[in-house]
Symmetry: C2
Subunit: 450 residues, 2 copies
C-alpha cells in the first residue's frame, strides 16, 4: 500500500484518487481552487438552471465516462440537435442544412470534390499514427516538421475546402492551423477516432451531456473522497528524495507521500518549483505545450426561440468572431441557452477588448445567425479560460511543430517519484473528459504497482 499525493482535483486527479482509495491506498488530493472539476465548472442561474462554463460533452467511444456517470448515480441527456436545421454562415452566405454525422456543408461540385479528397487524405494519414508513440509514426519527421496549415494549403484547392478545415481546427483545438504540428493534428484526430467523430453531435464527441452539468462527475467523486480532497491550496513546490515526496502549497501547508501524481495542464505543471529541479527534457517539453485559446459565451433567453424558426441553435461560420454555437438549454428546454465559442485567434484578440465590446460582438453574431430575437438576451455570461490563473487556456494543450519528434519520449515519463496524468497524457481520447479519466486511472495503476 502506498501513500499518494495527487495535485489537482480535476477529472484526472479525482479518478486517480478514487481508483487508489478503492484499492486501499492512502491519498490526498491538493487543489488550488475552492472548487473541484478543473476544466469542468458549473454555474447555477437564479432560476436554478445549471450552466457548464467548461468541458461539457460525452460522446461516441467515451465508454469509461458513461460507465463512471452510471457508477456515480448520474445520468446523461442528448445534446439538442434534432429540433431544427444547422445554420451555415460561410463565405458571407447564410444557408441551412440538416444535422447529421460529420456535417459537410452543401457546396459547389468543385468545392465538394476538393473537400472530400482532402478529408479522405487526412483520414488516411491520421489512421496511420502511432497513438502510444506518435514520434515513431512512419514519416514522423516530415509530418512533424510542418504546420497543419501548410498541409491544408497544399491539399485543399478551394476557399471552401480550406475554410472547412480551419473551422474544424478552431472548434477542436481552440487554436489555429498555423499553431499546430501536422503530426499532432493527425495523432489527436486518430486518438479521438476520426474527424467526423470529433465534429459530430449524434454519434460524435458532442452527443451527450451530464444531467445537472458535467461538473457533477467531479463533485460526486470528490464527495466520496471526503476529507482526502483539500481545496484552496495552490501547490507551489514539490520536493522529492529517497524517502518520498513533499508537496507544499502557497500557504505553507505540506503533504507527504511516497509518490506524487501531478494532473495540472502541462504549462502549469511546468511552473511549479521542483526540488531537485526537473530534468532538461521534461522542463523543455512543458515549455512547448501551450494551451488553446477560448472564451465560452452564453446568452440566456426565456425560451429557445430559434426552434420556432426551424433552427437547432447550431451555427458554423467562417467569419465569426463567434464561429461555432450550440443550443445549451437544459433538458426541460427552458430557459433557452445559446452558447458560442470565441476560439483561437478570435479569443486572443477579443480577450484584449473591453467586456461591453465583447458582449456586443458576441450578441451581434447570435443575431446574425438566429435573428433579432437573439439581440435581447435576459442575461449574458462568459468565461475566458486563458485568464484563469489555474488553467490558462482550454480546451487543452497542443504540440507545436517539432515537439513530438524531439520530446515524445518525455511525454508521460515520470521524473523520479513524480508521475503525470491528465487529458493531455491520454493516448486514446486525448483532450477529452474521457482521456482525463482514463489517464488518471492508468497512472493510479502505475503508481500502485511501484
Amino acid at each position: 500500500m502506498s501513500n499518494v499525493v495527487v495535485v489537482g482535483a480535476g477529472l484526472a486527479g479525482l479518478a486517480a484518487a478514487r481508483w487508489l482509495v478503492a484499492r486501499g491506498h492512502e491519498v490526498t488530493v491538493v487543489e488550488a481552487r475552492e472548487r473541484v472539476g478543473g476544466r469542468t465548472e458549473g454555474l447555477v442561474l437564479d432560476d436554478g438552471t445549471p450552466l457548464e462554463l467548461g468541458g461539457q460533452w460525452l460522446g461516441e467511444g467515451h465508454t469509461r465516462m458513461y460507465e463512471l456517470v452510471g457508477e456515480l448515480g448520474l445520468s446523461t441527456f442528448r445534446t439538442w440537435n434534432d429540433e431544427g436545421k444547422l445554420l451555415l454562415d460561410l463565405q458571407g452566405k447564410r444557408s441551412t442544412m440538416k444535422p447529421h454525422k460529420g456535417a459537410v456543408p452543401r457546396l459547389s461540385p468543385f468545392a465538394l470534390t476538393d473537400l472530400a479528397q482532402g478529408l479522405l487524405r487526412f483520414a488516411r494519414l491520421a489512421a496511420r499514427t502511432d497513438l502510444e508513440r506518435p514520434w515513431l509514426t512512419p514519416g514522423a519527421e516530415v509530418l512533424d516538421g510542418q504546420t497543419w496549415e501548410t498541409w491544408i494549403r497544399r491539399n485543399l484547392r478551394t476557399a471552401a475546402g480550406r475554410a472547412y478545415f480551419h473551422v474544424a481546427c478552431e472548434a477542436v483545438w481552440a487554436a489555429e492551423a498555423s499553431d499546430v504540428s501536422l503530426l499532432h493534428a493527425l495523432f489527436y484526430t486518430h486518438s479521438n477516432a476520426n474527424l467526423d467523430t470529433l465534429l459530430a453531435v449524434d454519434r460524435g464527441a458532442q452527443q451527450d451531456r451530464v444531467t445537472g452539468g458535467s461538473v457533477r462527475v467531479a463533485e460526486a467523486m470528490a464527495a466520496a473522497l471526503g476529507e482526502r480532497v483539500v481545496l484552496g491550496r495552490p501547490v507551489r513546490q514539490i520536493a522529492q528524495d529517497d524517502s518520498g515526496v513533499r508537496v507544499i502549497a502557497r500557504d505553507g501547508s505540506a503533504y507527504r507521500g511516497d509518490v506524487a501524481v501531478v494532473t495540472l495542464p502541462p504549462t502549469l505543471a511546468g511552473r511549479l518549483e521542483y526540488d531537485p529541479p526537473l530534468p532538461s527534457w521534461r522542463d523543455q517539453l512543458t515549455q512547448r505545450m501551450p494551451a488553446g485559446s477560448v472564451i465560452k459565451t452564453f446568452a440566456i433567453y426565456p425560451e429557445p426561440f430559434w426552434r420556432e424558426g426551424g433552427l437547432n441553435g447550431q451555427a458554423a461560420s467562417d467569419t465569426g468572431p463567434v464561429k461555432v454555437t450550440f443550443d445549451n438549454s437544459p433538458p426541460s428546454g427552458r430557459p433557452g441557452v445559446l452558447m458560442g465559442f470565441l476560439e483561437g485567434k478570435e479569443a486572443r484578440m477579443w480577450a484584449r477588448r473591453a467586456p461591453a465590446e465583447r458582449r456586443e460582438a458576441v450578441i451581434g453574431c447570435f443575431t446574425r445567425y438566429f435573428g433579432d430575437a437573439a439581440g435581447r438576451p435576459e442575461q449574458y455570461l462568459e468565461r475566458d479560460w486563458m485568464a484563469e490563473e489555474f488553467t490558462r487556456g482550454c480546451y487543452g494543450a497542443h504540440f507545436a511543430p517539432g515537439v513530438w519528434t524531439s520530446y515524445g519520449e518525455a511525454w508521460r515519463a515520470p521524473a523520479g517519484r513524480i508521475h503525470w496524468a491528465g487529458a493531455e497524457c491520454a493516448p486514446r481520447w486525448n483532450g477529452y473528459m474521457e482521456g482525463a479519466v482514463r489517464s488518471g486511472e492508468a497512472t493510479a495503476e502505475t503508481v500502485a504497482a511501484l
Copy 2:
C-alpha cells in the same frame, strides 16, 4: 524620480539598473543566483584560464556592447580564426576551406547554385520584415503559418543546400528548423543584419570576445551598483496595486517599488506568481516562447595542437552530434581550449544520456575533426543550459509558427506596473548580448519617463 525593482541580474537587468542609477533613480536588482551575468557565466580553470560557459561573442554592429566594454574599462580580443583552415565534415566527407565572411563551403556547381539561390531568396524575404512589429510584415500570415523547415524543403533542392540551412538554424537558434516559424527566422535574421553576419567570425557575430570572459561586463556593472544588487533571492511573486509593486523572493524577502522591470527569459517570466494574475494575452505568449536547446562543451589541451595541422579549430558538421566547434583558447594561446556545441535535437537527446557517454561522444567528434591528439584532453567540461533552473535553455527563446501573428502585440507590452526587458525584447540584435543591453536601457528609459 522613481523607485524601480529589477528582476534578474543578467545583462539586460544590470544595464537597466545602471542607466537608471546614472539618472538618480532608486533601483534594486533582485537575482536568483549567487552570481550575476544570467546567460553569461565565467569559470576559472586551475591555471587561471577563464572559460565562458554561456554567451561569449561580440561582433559586427554590436556598437552598444563595444561602447559599454570601453566604459567599464574592459577590452576585447579577436576570436581565433586566421590560424588555419576551417574543417568541414559534410555528408560524410572531410574537407577544409579558408575562413571568410559568410562561410559557404565548396560544393558541386549544382549544389552551389541551389544554395546561392536559396540564400538570396531568404535574404530578400528577411530584409522585408518589420523589426518593430514583425506581425505587420507584408504576407506575415503566410510566413508565420509555416515552419522554416517547410520553406527549406520548398526552396532548396539539394541535400547540401538543405544541410547548410539546417546547420545554420542549429548554430543560430539551438533549435531545429521544424521548431521555428519562418517569420521568426526572417525577423531574427534581419534583426541581426543578415545570415552572413549571424554565421561569420570576422565582420560577423562571432568576431570578438571580452578579455577575461564576457561575464566581466555583468560583474563590472554589478560592482558599480554595489548593494543595489541582491543575490541568491529567486523571485517567486510580483504583486501590484495602485500604489506600486511588491517583489517577493522565495525566502520571503520583499522589495517595494513604483514599477518592476522583469528581465527573465520569457518562459521563466511566465512562471512567477502574479497578483493580480497576468492578463490572458501575456500569459499565453510566454507559454509559446520556448528556449533553445544547447549543451556547451569544452576540452582543454596543453596547447592548441590543431594549429600545427593548419586548422583554426572551427568545424562545421552535418553529422555531429557536435556540429560546430571553435578555438576558445585565451589570448595567450595557452592552454588550447576546444569548444563544441550540442544543439537542438542533439542537445535534447544527449541531455538524457549519462555524463560519461556524452563525454565520449563529444571527444569522439573532436577526434574525428582534429585527429587523435583531441582524444586526450587534460580536462573536459560542459554546461547543459536546459538543466539550469534559472535559465532553462539557451541561446534564447524562439517563436513557434503562428505566435508572432497571434501574440505580437503582447511582445513588449507592459502589464500594469510590470515592464519587460531582455535579449528577447530587442527589435535590433535580438537574442544577443547587444540586444539584451539595448533592451535593458530602452526599458529603463520608458519607466523613467512614467
